[in-house]
């Protein structure tokens, strides 16, 4: 990185520069059933460089990657090529984040752990949940990462953050005399808690047991649908995309400041904030790829669009005084209903979807349901083989949120979101 920095400083055609380096070590275990199929380790460096060239009242930029194996002359050649490219580009001017230094480690209890021993303990915690008669974990992949991100720029930014994170992909399966079914589990954490891992996998083992007995309900029907955190996160990510500075600057945003997304509604008014850090989330960060300190930003308050968010460059293009930075975590305010209240009327609670489809342009929300729990007012039973669809603006007007909250992935907020009047086929 020092060589790259020295070469950039020596080049007189460059107006500004930014270097981002990610050093990653990983240890990865791949199981087929309970047998270890593959052991992987990685030790890699990714270096990304952006040069900025001011010309004719405009700013051009061009990015490229540098391999640690490159010679000084190779790097110099790449810098020259990027300068030539930047001269072709004429974008409105903007400044880089100013002098700021930081060296931080995000909270974890895995910092001093030996990756091999920890990987083994994680595997033990996963398979500890494999106790359901008829059930099995047919595949499991465990990824342990230590990432060190350093961002430097020509305006004096020099920031480093170290993150330790784990991702588990497990496939709980249940087999009876007639069929075999599975569910997909993607569990991520930054704090190792073996009991929590076992509980998480055990929940999915119970769910997959239900899937084998799940039947297609009588359809078509119109029903209230309950979404869990993973799907709530996906729903909110669509709004986050639309309220990003770059989407707004390119006129691609179907919603804008001041829009009341729940006008004339009778449900919970949503308050939705993009955050730098959500405790336990593997997407937490202190700064973004530009080295810009992240500022938590409320996008939607009581149902009304209040702010946009995003990168330094596009924030400046929209005349935002202090751009938020590229925030990755989502926080949704708690609702006014208890889970019990939300489940008082007939409902369909989605436990596994192929993927929630949300289309702000076409006012649509829907998706294929692999496993849900249907309460018809009298009994609760697992169902499958159905597809739901609804009008997104109606969903927003009448949605209800639970008071109880949960943290999952990059999301913190209500553990249930109720969408009223969804068509199920």
């Amino acid at each position: 990185m020092n060589t790259v920095k020295a070469l950039l400083e020596k080049n007189r055609e460059i107006s500004a520069w930014r270097v981002s380096q990610t050093l990653r070590t990983s240890y990865e275990l791949f199981f087929v059933h309970r047998s270890l199929e593959t052991v992987r380790a990685t030790d890699t460096a990714d270096i990304s460089v952006t040069v900025y060239v001011d010309h004719d009242g405009a700013r051009g930029d061009s990015s490229f990657s540098v391999s640690p194996a490159m010679s000084e002359s190779d790097i110099a050649e790449k810098i020259d090529a990027a300068v030539s490219r930047a001269k072709l580009v004429s974008n409105p001017p903007y400044t880089l984040p100013e002098r700021d230094t930081l060296h931080a480690e995000l909270p974890t209890n895995m910092k001093d752990a030996d990756m091999k021993a920890l990987g083994c303990r994680i595997a033990e915690a996963v398979f500890q949940a494999d106790t359901v008669p008829g059930g099995s974990i047919n595949a499991c992949e465990i990824f342990l990462y230590r990432d060190t991100l350093r961002v430097l720029n020509s305006s004096g930014v020099d920031k480093t953050q170290v993150t330790h994170r784990v991702m588990i992909e497990a496939i709980p399966t249940f087999t009876d005399d007639h069929q075999s079914v599975e569910l997909y589990e993607d569990y991520r954490f930054t704090v190792f808690d073996p009991e929590k891992i076992t509980a998480e996998i055990a929940d999915k083992m119970a769910a997959v047991r239900d899937r084998v007995s799940a039947q297609k309900p009588q359809t078509p029907m119109t029903v209230n649908v309950l979404l869990r955190p993973h799907e709530i996160e996906n729903l909110l990510l669509e709004y986050a995309w639309a309220l990003n500075y770059s989407a707004v600057y390119s006129h691609a945003n179907p919603i804008k400041l001041g829009d009341d997304l729940q006008k004339d509604g009778d449900g919970d008014r949503i308050s939705f904030t993009m955050k730098g850090i959500v405790a336990g989330s593997d997407r937490s960060a202190l700064f973004d790829d530009d080295g810009l300190a992240l500022t938590d930003t409320c996008l939607i308050q009581n149902g009304v669009v209040k702010n946009y968010f995003g990168s330094n460059r596009f924030g400046q293009y929209l005349n935002v005084e202090k751009p938020s930075g590229s925030l990755k975590c989502i926080s949704l305010g708690a609702g006014s209903f208890s889970k019990q209240q939300l489940k008082a009327q007939p409902y369909l609670e989605c436990a596994s979807l192929s993927g929630l489809q949300v289309d702000l342009y076409n006012d649509y929300v829907g998706g294929e349901i692999r496993l849900a729990y249907y309460f018809d007012g009298e009994a609760l039973r697992p169902v499958t083989g159905i597809t739901m669809s609804g009008k997104l603006s109606d969903v927003m007007r009448h949605l209800r949120l639970s008071r109880e909250t949960a943290v999952q992935g990059s999301y913190e907020g209500p553990s249930l979101l109720l969408m009223q009047g969804i068509t199920v086929l």
Binding site: V32, T38, A41, C120, N138, A139
Partner: protein, 465 residues
Amino acid sequence: MPFSTYLNEKRRDCEELVQALGRHFPYVSILGTDVRATVVRADKRTSAVQEGQGECGFVVKMNDGRAFFEYSLNDISGDKAALAERILAAVQTDPNLAQKMISPGPVRDDPLRQDFARETDFAAYSDQDMLSVCQEMVAELSQKDDRVLNAACILQPFTVSKIFVSRNRALTQHYGWANGHLIVTYNGDKLVQARRTEGSDRLKEIIDALRGGADQVIDLARHLTKATPIEPGIYDVITDPSITGLIAHEAFGHGVEMDQFVKDRAMAKHCMGQYVASPITNMHDGAAAAHSVASYFFDDDGVLAQDTQIIRDGILVSGLSDLTSAAQLNTAPTGNGRRDSFKRKAYARMTNTFFEPGKDKLEDMIASVQHGYMLFETNNGMEDPKNWQIQCTAEYGIEIVDGKLTDHYVSPVVMSGFVPDLLKSISMVSDQGKVIGSGMCGKGYKEWVRVSDGGPNLKVRVKLG
């Protein structure tokens, strides 16, 4: 542009490292990658000329007769004995896990030394040339209709150089591909985005196709502003090649990736030799099966590209395997071992996946539908190889009434159901097809690789919502 000079200089290093690690493992291979991508983009307000998502590094794969071991690193220069020791230390396992390893069959390492190359025309286009094309396209699209809020044109050529060295094999390959995109943001009755995508290893073809498609993308945008939600139901559907490809990919492609067989994650494992589709259905996958984005010469396990027929006359006849799953199943690998990058594991993956053309004329197929939809352009899809549920989302559909396409557009359209029901409902297959090389495919929700898919128009009966 020739094969990577950098990788060429590493041939000897690869051989020496294979030799050093060969003292500890019966099977050792090294894959070196140098993928270089360029992104040239312009819209009404900004432009960019820069490197795209590339990669440069090495992954070492070893097998000790039981488990597989891999180590990814940026460089393999220097003292090979020391590097081998470093690798051995890094992939060590906890003693508790060492007792629980798989017992695969022999790992194939048949002797072969060969260099492969396929030329592109990328060198004929400078950065300035490509940026000028993008800027001209943006200007043209913007001038066509004052309701165009923004227009973007993107050109993305990339070249792949890979070297594979094992005890018995020494292979290199070099090829390229490019994609071009037009995106129009249009404000009519509502705000919409319309897209057109092209793929080829000739930039000239892409640029010509984009230039020729400007009117169509504006026309599509106009129609999409009037598109309505579809009334959920079960309909007769005619697919365009993109949606045909999506069905091939999601409905069946993932289900025949044989690493899923090993894990008992695929229903297809139990359906070999059985009817899984209508008897007029034939489906292929393979890097050598079509000329498109995934047409490599050898896979990331050093296995030569093949054309694998998956479904013959409605009967499931073959799956797709990487070296690791083939060793566990005691079968010959099919050349489908692919990595997201040198930093990730190789899995059994699709390449170019498509249905064969049939005998029907598209106009007859449309004429045969009393009420239904013709679906266009893939948005996304999700597989479920164990339980054969699928979800495929099309960007839009056009209503068919009394055998004629109407002016009524619906968007988005989510197609879902049970795979065999869908495939057995194929009642007509058009006589012309197209493989579209602009897709990215994940395994689960990660491990992204470039894929193509496509085929002819199909007539199916399926649930839309």
